[in-house]
């Protein structure tokens, strides 16, 4: 067992874990943060996307012990209790989810996209950037609309680090 400590959604956490424990297992099983999902366990589907030190990563392909000292944000930590994040609002408003399984990863990837690319995102950019996030229900059409609208709303509210 190896000791690991990190900050998850603003709270310090520490545990002794197997060195092979994945970050997603640590989040889901040790911390019971089950909003981060495992869809493919091979880094393809993006259901497990969280933010590590402000960048989107696939938590099914990251060892928990390699996140020593890191700042992790999951879907549960994206917004305050009182108010949804603009990207969450946009996904609901534009019917960008059906079964909801891919949704947390989609939203985390979309927020990261705005951090990197700014709040004015065209369709081509959004589709290219979401290559690593799969959805089987929606056909992506409404997800693209939601990400564009969510990005604009983030820009308007000047939340996060939007350019």
């Amino acid at each position: 067992m190896t000791a690991v400590a990190m900050t998850v959604n603003g709270k310090p956490v520490a545990a002794d874990v197997e060195p092979r424990l994945l970050l997603v297992q640590f989040l889901r099983e040790n911390l019971r943060l089950t909003g981060t999902h495992v869809g493919c366990d091979t880094s393809q589907c993006g259901a497990c996307v969280v933010h590590l030190n402000g960048r989107a990563i696939k938590s099914c392909t990251m060892l928990a012990v390699s996140c020593e000292g890191a700042q992790v944000t999951t879907i549960e930590g994206l917004a305050s209790e009182a108010q949804l994040h603009p990207m969450q609002e946009a996904f609901r408003e534009h019917h960008a989810l059906q079964c909801g399984f891919c949704t947390p990863g989609m939203i985390m990837a979309a927020v990261d996209m705005v951090y990197r690319k700014g709040s004015e995102l065209d369709e081509t950019t959004i589709r290219d950037e979401l290559e690593g996030n799969l959805c089987r229900c929606t056909g992506y059409h409404n997800i693209v609309k939601a990400v564009a609208a969510g990005a604009r709303a983030m820009g308007a509210r000047q939340t996060g680090r939007a350019a």
Binding site: H37, R92, Q98, C99, G139
Partner: protein, 686 residues
């Protein structure tokens, strides 16, 4: 905002999904749970000489290792197919035995050999790697075209020439006669490739046994928890239904693949008592590819006979359907009764004859996938009319128009009776929206740039909502096609609606509540939709075959009628007016010709207070249920036009435009329906 029928109400279920608060099966954990990992066959076809678990049993954390022999010793049943299909000669289909864990042979890569249950998932994986299996490997049958030839390896002793059935439908003599007098005959060969449904959420199950009550609880990724309970109880012998609770919580997509009862949930349900611990299994994506039921996989020869004007006189279809290595829960029905009755498409075809051979191969089982049989039929008839039109030099849209059914009800030669439709109007609208008239110019422009351009049509029809139970039974179905609902009105006027339908992305919590809100005139916030738990909902058939709106909501509608009828009686007594003078509208019971009225909530309260009426005449309370059995399928239809451009140098294909005109009748929530169409198109494109 108006939340009634026809409004694009935003989904009530979304809050939990966008905040990570959904509860899927893998999000559920039970105290002391062990983790199951399955040992699977790496061979497509082999006899099992020996399974050696000695080393694995000694591995750290192992709670139990079981093989098919252990299940057999406990008299656990085998996995059955629930639809009997008879061959042309009247003989029953030849189904091979499908053990939950393989006994003598493995028949496809991924077939289940043993289960390892350990304290942690990693320990279960480690131990599973120590299970050693000695195989006598056989040649495998993987080619559908040649699987039935004599001399090929036999997959099941019960099914000579790997043939499950040789089924047919229609009037062969009438079809032969029509072909004999045809001016033009078109013949095509088609492959409808196998595909893997791949819902985003992998299948999962957790089962626990409560020694105190003798009851079992199984959480599983199911589209139909009551069917799972029925099979686990009546066919597997895990426990009687009253001691077995099946919960299908949030389910991350199904597309058919989560209808069926698989080995894994049976093993978890059985093993939890053996090891004295809750047992949890979650599929890895690799397992989803290997062992979830696949879809489609047809090889078809189709022919159409036309007169000189392009009027179709008859259609003849011969299909080989790959059913995989075992018959999955509804496998036999998909390429027969869910397929051939749709071969008339939107066309007035006097005679149709279809033959289907169900074939075993050493591949993963094939069962219902998105549309299940009906899209396969649409593919056949649409390719056939397209090629026929081109061969006869008739514009493909015009060819379709000439053959559309124009009067309703329409009895096809293959069982179906279409109640209503207007196919030409959809086609005209689609042609206009797709700018079909401008296609030639766009084609020329593409050609100039060295690219190819073309359009494809699909003028489809779908039979939605599995048909009357009695009719389905006469065709071999093992279960009925009804749905149940219960409407429970609480004292203060809030309403719980229990439905046997199951939502795994369809948004029932919203659409069903819209119906109830519309009918009772109360806000959606006062309405809860309860589904997916056999201890809450008494009985249900689940969600598949496009049946939840047509059948599930109809059951709710009937139950609502009964609630209103009873509430009207209660209101009349409370207002002291004759029953026949009370009208119910927009949530208010009003006595005609008076200024007396009562809100729905007041009447609900009075129904429970029960002071204002004679309980011998009206029972206290306000709760009504219904089992709704449809009298027919519903027949949504439409026209889709895909216009694509291909770069012949690179093969890159771009969908330039996709036009969809769909006639779905009354739409409850257009936003959700459009979302379903988007998703269907994306899965169709692949």
């Amino acid at each position: 905002m108006n939340t009634g029928i026809g409004q694009p109400v935003r989904r009530r279920e979304d809050f939990r999904f966008i905040t990570g608060s959904g509860q899927y099966t893998d999000d559920i954990n039970r105290p002391g749970q062990g983790y199951a990992v399955f040992v699977r066959s790496p061979h497509a076809h082999a006899t099992i000489r020996k399974i050696d678990v000695a080393a694995a049993t000694k591995a750290p954390g192992v709670l139990g290792i079981f093989t098919g022999k252990d299940l057999a010793a406990d008299k656990i049943g085998t996995l059955a197919c629930g639809w009997m299909v008879l061959s042309k000669d009247g003989s029953p289909m030849r189904a091979g035995v499908h053990p939950v864990l393989a006994l003598e042979k493995v028949r496809y890569v991924g077939d289940h050999l043993a289960v390892v249950i350990a304290e942690t998932m990693n320990q279960a994986h480690d131990a599973a790697e120590l299970v050693s299996v000695d195989y006598d490997v056989h040649a495998a049958v993987v080619d559908l075209g040649s699987a039935q030839q004599s001399g090929k390896p036999q997959i099941h002793a019960e099914a000579p020439n790997n043939t499950v059935y040789q089924w047919h439908l229609g009037d062969k003599a009438a079809v032969d006669a029509a072909f004999a007098k045809a001016k033009h005959v078109t013949r095509i060969d088609l492959v409808n490739n196998r595909l893997i449904p791949n819902a985003m959420e992998p299948r999962a199950a957790i089962a626990e046994y409560d020694r105190g009550s003798g009851g079992y609880t199984v959480y599983t990724t199911s589209q139909n928890p009551h069917l799972t309970r029925l099979v686990l109880s009546a066919f597997m012998g895990i426990a009687p239904e009253n001691k077995l609770r099946v919960i299908a919580p949030d389910v991350g997509g199904g597309f058919g693949s989560k209808i069926f009862i698989y080995a894994e949930e049976v093993v978890c349900a059985w093993a939890c008592r053996k090891v004295g611990r809750p047992v949890k299994w979650v599929a890895e994506r690799t397992e989803s590819f290997l062992a979830d039921a696949h879809g489609r996989d047809h090889a078809t020869t189709a022919e159409a006979a036309m007169d000189g004007n392009g009027k179709i006189l008859a259609v003849r279809v011969k299909t080989k359907a790959n059913l995989g290595a075992y018959l999955s829960t509804f496998a036999s029905a998909v390429p027969t009764y869910l397929y051939a009755p749709l071969l008339s498409g939107q066309y007035d075809i006097p005679a149709i004859y279809c033959e289907v051979d169900g074939v075993y191969t050493n591949t993963a089982p094939v069962d219902a996938y998105r549309g299940a049989g009906r899209p396969e039929a649409a593919f056949v008839i649409e390719r056939l009319v397209e090629v026929a039109a081109r061969e006869m030099g008739i514009d493909p849209a015009e060819f379709r128009m000439r053959n559309f059914i124009r009067s309703f009800p329409h009895q096809t030669p293959v069982i179906m009776n279409y109640d209503v439709g207007d196919y030409p109007v959809c086609m005209k609208k689609a042609l206009e929206m797709a700018d079909y008239a401008g296609l030639a110019a766009r084609k020329a422009k593409s050609a100039k740039a060295g690219r190819l351009r073309g359009v494809g049509f699909s003028a489809y029809i779908e039979a939605c909502g599995i048909a009357p139970s009695r009719a389905a039974g006469s065709l071999g179905a093992g279960v009925g096609g009804w749905e149940s609902a219960e409407v429970r009105v609480n004292m203060a006027g809030t309403v719980e609606v229990l439905t046997g339908s199951h939502s795994h992305g369809q948004g029932h919590e919203t659409t069903f509540a819209q119906l109830v809100s519309h009918r009772l005139g109360i806000p959606m916030e006062q309405i809860s939709i309860v589904h997916g738990d056999t201890d809450k909902v008494q009985m249900g058939m689940g969600t598949y075959g496009s049946r939840s709106a047509a059948v599930g909501m109809s059951a709710i509608s009937v139950a609502l009628d009964r609630v209103v009828t009873k509430a009207t009686k209660v209101a009349s007594r409370c207002m002291e007016v004759p029953e026949g003078t009370v009208d119910f509208q927009d949530g208010v019971f009003a006595a005609r010709g008076t200024n007396k009225s009562m809100a729905f909530g007041e009447v609900a309260l009075q129904a429970y207070v029960a002071h204002k009426f004679d309980s011998a005449e009206i029972e206290p309370g306000l709760k009504e249920g219904a089992f709704y059995d449809p009298t027919n399928f519903t027949f949504p239809s439409g026209v889709h036009i895909a216009e694509v451009e291909i770069d012949p140098e690179t093969g890159v294909t771009t969908i330039d435009r996709w036009t969809a005109i769909d006639d779905f009748g009354t739409i409850i929530n257009p936003m959700i329906v459009e979302g379903q169409v988007h998703g269907g198109i994306a899965q169709g494109i692949g």
